[in-house]
Symmetry: C2
Subunit: 391 residues, 2 copies
């Protein structure tokens, strides 16, 4: 059956980010029906998200122009506060230097007193995943009743009772619904307005998903929504494990065939793992930007791939901790901790044999297997899949 | 539901290719029940295919040891015939130098008198696609009744009545069933036994598919079969069009996000195009080696990508013909002709609007649009897919 297509309509003129005239014209749009957006987080990706959003709140009448951005306050080498500099220059000089965020982005350090959330009815969470539990605890009881949330955070918490997705953590702790946005999104490329895509995952509320799509979409950033919050979120989390595998292959100089095969096996394990954990996960989600495209970006560039390549080049003799410290200027690798968390889940359920690539990545990371095991072990694919049995 | 898995069993000791002792021991296995294999073609990929097959016919009792390989006879600069040199050195010195094919590979130039096919009951077709119609005409009536075929050929013939897949051409002209084998298969990497994968597509006969899987599988070359001959074959054909798009993005230095997005949009169009042409095509096929993995390999390396990159770097001012002649030493780009053929199909059915990436690639190739159009035009995705409407 031929699918029903429609030509994609223009989304209007490009947003006039940072132009005073546009901002003041749009201030006239303020009414009580407008949604107020707060971005919780202001790192590299958080700043780019604020820029995307701020261009749209100026342009669209259904959003209040001002975008509040929570900034973990820091004193810069100049002695100035980071928030003051952001607010006077419209630039996150520490995490996204050289890019204007838009005059309607207001940096605010006040998480404690919930100054950042008291008026907001749309919350965008984009912090390192290990901070989320603490942030939620501070926000409990201090947000409006009709708030909707979206998480741009990659990673999951593994607890005794099983893995907990960040969107679930937010929903449970704050009692609000939470979508996710994932995709092939290297922040610095989107900051300079290079074309890319993203996927919004939603649970039930399609109207809410459409609002998030509106808030993030620009002519150079195409957003699609799918009803599969866990599938989208697990893509964003698990791809970092596959990126480590791809990095090992690069370090061992095994060529493009092998790398493509390992990426494909990784995608298969991402899909199988997600579907075993959540029966609602859809195959089609893996064809979206959050799936195959993000996997490609992460396995071509990305710091997980890069450090894993160095790890394999050194024959596993220098630890990830050591290489991280040397190569990443204080940033931590998400993939290594995710690989450990995934391993714990697999081990707990007796699934290690079913996921040779995921299991092997962790065992290489902790030095139990040599980097070359990534190919030898990933080959042990389920025999049934030789003819038509693949998941 | 948890899928039924089984650990992958070892396939026995690695084949003893080219060792006299193994060959003579195995000659004892000859009986009338053994399948005799002929490889029709002896280029780079054909020679590697012969090597893979020859290692298995020695090892497996259900196949006759000898693998006959049709060689288009050439006189080498030394004055010797190519077939003589292959047969005396076990090496295709022209198209796969430095690699031993196995002593049980016999080069044979006799297509005219069907010397190569008279005893064969398994035919492997691996020639440039434009030669297939002529080859089939020569073989009509000169093959055994119980012959099975497999095509490793990428490309399709566009005729007045619509596109004709190569496997269909073989089936129709020779009155035999024909499987296909596609995947992330850079011949030179497989020749040196680097790990890779492939997909066999079959129509109905699962037993025949299992035989082809056996014939090609080695510990470093994993083959999976799926019941979707058109899906597998179209993947192998259409990925070259996407590789041109990826090459344009590389030439314009647009970054990994954009490249991943374009590859994803390309994969989506591959899937949509295949399903519109053949309703039997399965979504899962695109997760196999022939789908996402081959797409990745082809868009990372590969000559289509490379020449398209040069084309974009020159702002489209030097034609593909000119760049091909300069960069490919006489080889032709499959992608450019496939893009034209796909465009004809789209145009004929009134589908141009539905496939902005495929259409734009052809229009860039013929100089109607600048290379930068690849991003501007591919963005025009069907509006319905913004929320859940993707195919």
């Amino acid at each position: 059956m031929a699918p029903a297509f429609e030509a994609h309509q223009s989304q209007g003129p490009p947003p006039q980010v940072g132009e005073q005239v546009a901002a003041s014209q749009n201030n006239l749009h303020f009414s009580n029906h407008e949604s107020k957006v707060t971005v919780v987080g202001s790192g590299n990706w958080g700043s780019v998200a604020a820029k995307l959003i701020a261009s749209n709140t100026l342009r669209l009448t259904s959003f209040h122009d001002e975008v509040r951005m929570w900034v973990f306050e820091e004193i810069l080498p100049s002695g100035e506060k980071l928030t003051d500099v952001i607010n006077s220059t419209n630039e996150n000089v520490k995490y996204l230097p050289g890019i204007k965020l838009g005059k309607n982005v207001v940096a605010d350090p006040d998480l404690e007193n919930a100054g950042i959330t008291k008026d907001a009815n749309m919350l965008v969470f984009v912090t390192p995943h290990q901070f989320m539990e603490g942030i939620c605890k501070k926000l409990v009881g201090k947000i409006k009743g009709d708030v909707e949330a979206i998480s741009l955070i990659k990673g999951m918490e593994v607890k005794m009772e099983g893995p907990c997705m960040i969107s679930t953590l937010i929903s449970q702790q704050l009692g609000i619904s939470c979508c996710v946005l994932m995709g092939a999104n290297i922040a610095n490329e989107i900051a300079v307005e290079k074309f890319s895509e993203a996927t919004v995952g939603y649970r039930e509320n399609r109207e809410s998903a459409e609002k998030w799509v509106q808030l993030f979409s620009t002519p150079y950033f195409l957003v699609t929504a799918v009803q599969d919050v866990e599938g989208v979120e697990l893509c964003g989390t698990l791809k970092n494990v596959v990126a480590l595998a791809a990095g090992f292959v690069d370090g061992l100089e095994m060529g493009n065939n092998t790398k493509a095969a390992i990426m494909r096996i990784g995608l298969r394990e991402m899909k199988a793992f997600s579907k075993l954990l959540f029966s609602s996960v859809k195959d089609t989600t893996f064809f979206e930007s959050c799936g195959v495209a993000d996997l490609i970006t992460t396995c071509l560039g990305g710091r997980n791939r890069k450090v894993a390549e160095a790890f394999a080049k050194n024959g596993g003799k220098r630890s990830f901790d050591e290489l991280e410290a040397e190569m990443l200027q204080g940033q931590k690798l998400q993939g290594v901790s995710t690989a450990r968390e995934v391993y714990e889940v697999l081990s707990h359920h007796g699934w290690l044999e079913l996921f040779p690539l995921f299991a092997t990545v962790h065992e290489i990371c902790i030095g139990r297997l040599p980097p070359s095991a990534i190919v030898e072990h990933s080959e042990r694919k389920p025999r049934l899949s030789l003819v038509d049995g693949s998941i």
